[in-house]
């Protein structure tokens, strides 16, 4: 049995890496990947607690988080593609107009 605190620490580390990625990078695609990392860190915490409590509810919730993540990625990438057609760039510094 893996101790709960190790799993939570690992989840925290991965989440922080995702936060740093969002703050540091300028490429919208890499920012999206960092958001995926954060979602996965949260999923890991869910599974860790579910395993600790010997309950399935946490795992079912992770299933729902995955569906929402899939929908979010599809829509986000569509927005990025549309933005690229308008602006010819995916660097968030160069995108500063709300109305294209």
């Amino acid at each position: 049995m893996i101790p709960l605190s190790w799993l939570i620490a690992l989840s925290a580390v991965v989440f922080v890496i995702g936060v740093v990625g969002v703050l540091v990078r300028r490429n919208a695609l890499v920012i999206f990947m960092s958001i995926e990392l954060m979602l996965n860190a949260a999923n890991l915490a869910f599974v860790a607690f579910a395993s600790h409590m010997r309950s399935l509810d946490g795992q079912v919730f992770v299933f729902f988080v995955m569906t929402v993540a899939a929908a979010e990625v599809a829509i986000g990438l569509a927005i990025i593609v549309h933005l690229f057609r308008l602006r010819e760039t995916v660097f968030v510094d160069e995108i500063h107009l709300l109305k294209g």
């Binding site: 190790w6 703050l23 300028r26 600790h52 409590m53 010997r54 992770v62």
Partner: protein, 184 residues
Amino acid sequence: MLAALFFGFAALLVVTSLMVVLHKNPVTSALFLVLAFCSLAGIYLLLRAEFLGMVQIVVYAGAIMVLFLFVIMYLNLQHDVESGLQIAVRRGIGWFVGALLLLVGGALLKRGWALGPANEVLPDVEQGNVAAIGRSLYSRYLFPFEITSILLLVAMVGVIVIARGRTRHAGGRAGGAGGVGGGA
């Protein structure tokens, strides 16, 4: 044995997620992200969450990352241009905030929080994780499960509308330009 496997997967997860953030080329970042998702699936397997481990590989490493790679290659991005004083300052701020967040998390973790004793009632071992999750999804969580299908439908329609672009000129038909949204 379990601890050794856990440390292996954890080290792989941390290193690959760092490479996702640090690498200059978006395609390489995406491939490292696939590796990170696979090591996370390994950790799920260690935690006896077999269904989630498989779904992690199929949905994340399979579907979502293919979508990412497809868009990266469709946009044909050049190398990341990241230089200059302003960028350097902001990068420093980003790392500082990250370190601060990690310190706060460590301090919280150290304060000896207690969740209470672990529940000792084991669910049926013979029927397996997948069957148990399926039973739970189709009984207790039936309504959220159905709502999820509506969410996916809304996302699909929204993606097609967004990626089709403006239909002001060219007779109101964007034609082949909608291909990316359709693939999603």
